[in-house]
Symmetry: C2
Subunit: 596 residues, 2 copies
């Protein structure tokens, strides 16, 4: 029996390789623990898929092995751990691609395996040793300069030449995906209604900073410079996105709105109607990507009497920040991230502020989140330990959603203990706390429902101190000058800000394509955890994100900076393969269980 | 006796450390070979200085040791080589700074030592683990956003607040130095007459690409993305510089010309008169940096009859590139880089072109230069071998100018052999070749005189084929429609382009400050090799570059992308130390031997 981590893993890989090559599925399954998970990003399944049992794995291998032809499973670097618990980074190949995998063994059997496609053979990015020369060292008449070629291409694309992909996107998601497609040679136009790349950040309220630390937020290819602050201000991020768009030489159509998109079955292409700086243009891409963040349209509940309110009232997304609120009363309905940030902003600028908390909220202090939840993967210490951003992304993905809660619960138990005084002060102020239905905390709330929490960057202290007042419970009605709670409490208001979240992402689809197409795609985000706002049945991967939907040639991209960075790679490879006409048999496309 | 490279170096460092700590200069010198060189960048000398003998080293140590207090000499990583020839990277400290050194031992004695200052203690860049948080997680009234602070600071600097440093610069030199100063917290304004950062590249002729490969050309802090071509086009570099300037948040005053600068002894500050977008502004920095490239004003020899020429005539710096030259005759006077590029450009666009070669020229084929001269330090292979850009820069600097020729001669001997057929074809076409007076090739020509060569990117083939014609010898006179060679050959011309180089860099000083100050500073560039255009006496380091000149608070910055990147670090540290009021005793400031 091998005893070293390398020995354990090499022995396992040799048997795995042999069993896969000989299509001996029984032998493959022998190598997996009874409790085991194989998560695959594109390499085997042309899908994002978690196989949660030996039977799942058998079904997948039976369907895919003939095409995939996996081989050359080798340690990418020394394995770690011991003979009982062993971890390893692994290179492998398929008929079509080169892959990278992460493996956890327990007593020599696989507990978790993550297989990912990294590049398509024959369609690698032209980088490093494969970079282009940039100039022919042979002088010929009529050759064009880089600038002439660039300007020509930009002028033709969308008019004489059609892009293969159109991304409708308003932020880092579309930009990061656009960069990946550019590097893969997939002609792409990004459509964005604002004037400048980055305006989706610049247009937010003045005090906004990233709530996640810098190590977690890089875009693909170019890291933030190493003097970037831990938490960048929204305008700094906006500027970065604008500079990034230029550096990556993206075809970025700003001041452009999509008015309609429909798939033309005859020509097998999308007909995307846009208005570019006032001029209508029809684009005919083969693939259409919606990259509109995690959220749909701003959602405002219909409160009785709202139309009678005499003051200003608007959704949190419209809050400008700043200004002089001295002597004014503001009521903010909601108690998640935006509500807290806006309450703080209003208080800073002189308002008398009340937060209406309608349901319990998970609060995680930024420092604690960094130390306990992110530090091992995204921090200076992680980098010093060799955990690059790219490795951190894979490690993060290496625990399937089924078992992620059990890994997260102890983190938040520790947080509750560490910040016990803080939490008891919040409770003393009347704030209703939770840590998720199962105590699994912030990331799972984010993944399941995309809401229900606040990363504390200071506003909680305002609530503890009573500088921001708190009203708990449901809103009863709204009058000409007040929000009246269901319990009768009257909150006088010169302004009401609805920090009440957003509708489903596929509201955009219903609007721009059709309600039928939106329903065929179905609910986006969440994975069927059967917890609040994430109905079952269990689906195992985020619905419709970065993988084939039930509408061909229609894709959803989004998520936070971390997710946009990581998953854009797999989406870009799926699009590239289709552009090149490679076979892309999708294993078990997910049925649509919920329309919106 | 230690036999391993680590053992050899560690034994040497221990003795060196002990001898330095006890100020026992005799013991120090015992550790050096009779033929030995100690090059120091700022760490010991607050100067750039090569000590070329034991006596030089003794003099330096006697003068500096009390202040410098060097200590903690330790291997930064495993040494390489064998007991006879050993190389090592070494960390050390001084009283004021942390340093990094490169050491070569021969049979246990030092042959070359390069000591460099890397950061001042207590004034480190705020990066990595020392980065700023970016936001206080405590909400207070009246706090300002990142954007408000940035805009306020930009509006005040140069008006209410004075910069510590003004850089008069038109390209990568000023921008890279500006970035270093920004990161060190030295308030700086960069003055540039063009509309946009990067215009100094954009305004050049259309076909221009970098002649050096991408690995050699990075700016400080942010590397070019890894899909950049080996040779980037001028507009791509221009765009990069513009994006870099934004990302680094430099105070970059475009559309601004300096009209006059004088030092006010009373206030000990410069009075720099500039016109910013039409409005006069007076700046009062403590330090003034001229970062105007390697060259001074365009230089055009006074040829008899030039004023009578009926066609177009202009200096190479004004050549736009492109256009339609069909049926036109062009004569290009000169045979170095610009002359070749412009001849090719004119030929491409239909002209009948003659190059006038007035003296022999060194030609190095780009491929051969990359393979033989640069590949070990600046290439994908070098990176794969662990030679980062930063290490390559130090290795490049680790061979002092005195012994650099002997290291370069074999490289060019190999090049002459490898490209023998190419060279004989050029000679057959009448082209007069050289490899430098001592056969030391391109870099030494560049360092000694900044001219006299062409990196072949295709134009030589045009000469070999006779598509660009050649006329050798001196120009006799110019008539209304021709250049007449001294030997009587008449070259008909519709246009004459003077690719005749540039005057001395301190022409700018004479003009903007005064001829007296320019003469006090003296000749810039070259190191006294007593070869053409680089008169003796021997000075050992490039005159006036990146180090204290003979005019206090006046500095010269420049060079190619590699030099600007590397040496800007030492210049920035010298400026930072002065801003902080640290003692900066300059060891043996170089006397001025030549006025211009």
């Amino acid at each position: 029996m091998p005893e070293t981590p390398n020995g354990v893993v090499e022995a396992w890989l040799a048997q795995f390789d042999e069993a896969l090559r000989s299509h001996n599925t029984d032998d493959v399954l022998e190598l997996f623990d009874d409790d085991s998970y194989w998560r695959d990003f594109v390499a085997f399944t042309w899908n994002l898929k978690t196989l949660e049992s030996k039977e799942d794995i058998r079904r997948m291998l039976d369907e895919t092995l003939d095409d995939v032809q996996p081989s050359n499973w080798t340690l990418a670097e020394d394995a770690t751990g011991d003979a009982a618990n062993t971890e390893a980074w692994v290179n492998f190949e398929t008929a079509q691609a080169r892959g990278y995998a992460h493996l956890r063994l327990r007593n020599g059997k696989c507990w978790t395996l993550l297989t990912t496609m990294q590049e398509l053979k024959g369609f690698e990015e032209k980088k490093g040793p494969n970079r282009e020369k940039g100039v022919a060292h042979e002088i010929t008449k009529g050759r064009k300069s880089w600038l002439e070629l660039k300007e020509e291409q930009e002028a033709r694309l969308g008019y004489e030449d059609q892009p293969y992909t159109v991304i409708i996107g308003r932020g880092q998601g579309g930009i990061g995906l656009g960069a990946r497609l550019r590097r893969l040679g997939v002609p792409t136009i990004i459509i964005e209604k604002n004037d400048r790349p980055g305006d989706s950040w610049r247009n937010r309220y003045k005090s906004l900073h990233l709530h996640d630390p810098v190590w977690y937020d890089h875009l693909p290819y170019i890291k933030f410079p190493d003097d970037w602050p831990v938490f960048a201000a929204k305008d700094k991020i906006g500027d970065w996105l604008e500079n990034y768009t230029r550096i990556m030489e993206l075809n970025y159509w700003s001041k452009t709105e999509c008015t309609n998109a429909r798939f033309d079955e005859a020509s097998q292409e999308w007909v995307v109607e846009v208005v570019r700086d006032g001029e209508p243009v029809t684009l005919r891409p083969k693939q259409l990507v919606f990259a509109l963040g995690v959220s749909g349209y701003p959602s405002v509940p219909a409160f009785d009497g709202a139309e009678s309110f005499q003051g200003e009232q608007y959704h949190s997304s419209k809050h400008p920040g700043g200004g002089d609120w001295t002597g004014k009363k503001a009521v903010v309905i909601g108690s998640n991230n935006s509500a807290h940030d806006i309450c703080a902003d209003l208080w800073e600028h002189g308002a008398d502020v009340t937060m209406v908390q309608r349901s319990s909220t998970h609060i995680a202090r930024s420092e604690s989140l960094m130390d306990l939840a992110l530090g091992g993967l995204y921090s200076e210490e992680a980098l010093a330990n060799g955990v690059t951003t790219e490795k951190a992304d894979l490690l993060f993905a290496s625990l399937p959603y089924r078992i992620l809660p059990e890994a997260q619960i102890p983190v938040y138990a520790e947080m509750a203990e560490r910040d016990a005084e803080f939490y008891s002060q919040l409770e003393a102020a009347g704030f209703e706390l939770d840590f998720g239905v199962d105590g699994s905390g912030l990331f799972l709330k984010y993944l399941r429902r995309g809401s229900g929490y606040y990363i504390d960057v200071g506003a909680s202290q305002l609530i503890i101190d009573g500088r921001v007042q708190l009203a708990n419970g449901e809103v009863g009605k709204i009058t000409g000058n007040a929000v009246v709670m269901a319990n009768g409490t009257e909150l006088e208001a010169d302004a009401i800000i609805y920090a009440t979240g957003y509708g489903s992402m596929n509201g955009w689809l219903a609007d721009l394509v059709s309600p039928e197409v939106a329903d065929a795609v179905g609910k986006c985000w969440g994975f069927g955890s059967d917890t609040p706002k994430d109905p079952g049945p269990w689906e195992g991967e985020l619905r419709n994100m970065w993988k084939p939907t039930n509408v061909d040639n229609l894709w959803i991209h989004g998520g936070n900076l971390h997710q946009s960075r990581h998953y854009s790679n797999y989406l870009a490879l799926q699009l590239k393969a289709r552009m090149e006409g490679l076979p892309t048999p999708v294993f078990e496309r997910q049925p649509t269980h919920h329309t919106r």
